[in-house]
C-alpha cells in the first residue's frame, strides 16, 4: 500500500509554543510573562494599543529578537543554516534595486531553491499577486501597494508554513489594502498559517479567525474574532475597542 505522504518531509513547524516569554529593552519590559500556543489552521490576528508589544511579539516568534527570559519553541525547529520555513512581511517592505522578478529570485536563492527552478517559481508567485506584467520593472519604483504585493509574492514563492505580518497595510489606501487582504486570504487557503498584527478593526474582522489581544506586554484575551469584537471579555479590550475607529 502506498501512502500519499512524502516520508522525507519534515514534521510541521507548528504548533509554536511560547512559555513565560519576557522581553526587555534596557529597563523597559516590553513583553511580560507571555505564554501562548499558536496552532496550525486559524488566522490569528494580534490586536492591542500602541506600545502593547505586538510588533516585538512577532519579531520574537519570527526569530529576529531573542527573548530575555522564557522559551519559544517550534514543534520541529528550523535547522540552523537551513532554509527558512516561516517568513515575515513588514509594514514597509525593503526591496532591492533589482527587477520585480529579481527580488523574488533573490529570496529563492537564499532559500536554497535550485537555480533552475527559481525563475518559474518566482513568476508563479508574481502571477498570484497580479504582478506578472511588471516582472521586469524596477522594484523600487512601484507604488506602495504594488511594493507590498511584491513583498507578499516574495514570501509566497518561499511557500512558508507560517507567515507573520506586521501591519502590512498601515501605509496603504483602501484599494491597495483590499488587494493585499485578498492575497493574504489566498496564501492562507494555500495552507500557510497567518499571524498578523493590525490596527484596523475592520481588517481584524475580515481576516481574523481568532484574536489575541495584547495589553502592556501581556496576553489579556484570546477569543474567536466574532466574539471578541462584539463581546470582549476583558475591561482593557472593551475600552480598546471603544477607542478604536472601526475601519
Amino acid at each position: 500500500m502506498t501512502i500519499g505522504v512524502d516520508v522525507r518531509a519534515p514534521p510541521s513547524l507548528l504548533p509554536l509554543d511560547l512559555d513565560r516569554v519576557e522581553f526587555a529593552a534596557g529597563s523597559r519590559r516590553i513583553i511580560q510573562g507571555l505564554s501562548v500556543t499558536l496552532d496550525a489552521g486559524p488566522r490569528s490576528v494580534i490586536l492591542g494599543p500602541n506600545g502593547a508589544g505586538k510588533s516585538v511579539l512577532l519579531r520574537l516568534c519570527h526569530g529576529l529578537l531573542e527573548p530575555t527570559a522564557g522559551t519559544i519553541a517550534w514543534n520541529s525547529p528550523e535547522l540552523p543554516g537551513g532554509a527558512r520555513r516561516q517568513a515575515m512581511v513588514f509594514q514597509r517592505p525593503v526591496l532591492l534595486r533589482r527587477t520585480v522578478l529579481g527580488n523574488v529570485m533573490y529570496a529563492l536563492k537564499l532559500a536554497r531553491v535550485p537555480r533552475g527552478e527559481r525563475e518559474e517559481r518566482a513568476r508563479e508567485a508574481l502571477r498570484k499577486v497580479g504582478l506578472d506584467a511588471q516582472a521586469d520593472h524596477a522594484a523600487r519604483v512601484l507604488s506602495g501597494g504594488e511594493q507590498q504585493r511584491l513583498a507578499l509574492a516574495r514570501v509566497w514563492a518561499l511557500r512558508p508554513e507560517v507567515l507573520f505580518l506586521d501591519e502590512p497595510t498601515a501605509s496603504l489606501d483602501t484599494g491597495a489594502t483590499h488587494e493585499i487582504e485578498k492575497v493574504i486570504l489566498a496564501l492562507h487557503a494555500a495552507g500557510t498559517k497567518i499571524v498578523m498584527v493590525t490596527h484596523n478593526l475592520g481588517q481584524a474582522h475580515r481576516l481574523g479567525d481568532e484574536i489575541l489581544f495584547l495589553h502592556q506586554g501581556r496576553l489579556v484575551e484570546r477569543a474567536p474574532a466574532d466574539r471578541f469584537l462584539k463581546h470582549p471579555a476583558s475591561l482593557e479590550a472593551a475600552s480598546f475597542l471603544e477607542g478604536e475607529l472601526p475601519w
Partner: protein, 234 residues
Amino acid sequence: MDPVAEAGTQALALVVTADPKLVGIVLLSLRISLAAVVFGCLIGLPLGAAIAVNEFRGRRAVIVILNGLMGLPSVVVGLVVYLLLSRAGPLGALGILFTPTAMVIAQTILITPTIAALSRQIVADAWQEYREQLRSLGETRLGAATTLLWDLRFSLVTIVLAGFGRAASEVGAVMIVGGNIDGVTRVMTTTIALETSKGDLPLALGLGIILLSIVLALNAGAYVVKETAQRRYG
C-alpha cells in the same frame, strides 16, 4: 605677449596636437591610478561593507582609525613604501622601487582607507534599513555585505571616483617611490611639479588642463550615472 598667456597658448597647442610626450605621460598616469583604484576597491569595498554589517570588539576604534587614515599624507605613504621597497628594506629583493608597480602600491595604500571608510558609511546607513528584512529572508552577514554592495552600486560610484581623484592628483607618494624618471615613472603630477620648478610652463600647464578635465569629466559622468540610475531603479 604676456608670458602666462604665451604659456597658455603653447599648452593648448600641446593638448590639441596630442603631443606624444604629453600623451605618454597622461596614459602612464591613468594606467597607474586606475590600477590603484581597482586594487583599492577590491580591498576597500569589501572591508568597508564587512565593518558596516558586523559587530565585533574594537569596532569603534577601527572606524575612527579608518576615518583618520583618509587624511593620510601622501609623502608619508611614499616614505613608508620607499623604506619597504628600498634595497635594504624587507621587500627590497623584489627590486620594484622606481617602477610603475611601486607607484601603484603607494597609491593603493593611499586610497584604500578612503574607499573603505566612505563605503562603510554608505553601507552602514543602508544596513539600518535592510537589516531586519535580510535577516528575515535568511541572509548571512557575509551575504548581506555583498548584497548591500551590489544594491548600493550607484552610490558607490561616487566613492570610487573620489578614490581615483585622490590617486591621480597626489604627487608626494609617486614622486618618492617612482623617482620621476623620464619616460618610465614620470606622471602628470610629478611632471607638473618638475617642469614648473624648471620654468617650462607650457608642458606643466597643458598637463594641468588635462588633469583638471579628467577629474571634472569623471565627476560629471558619475553624477549622470547616479541620477539616471536613481530615476530608473529608485
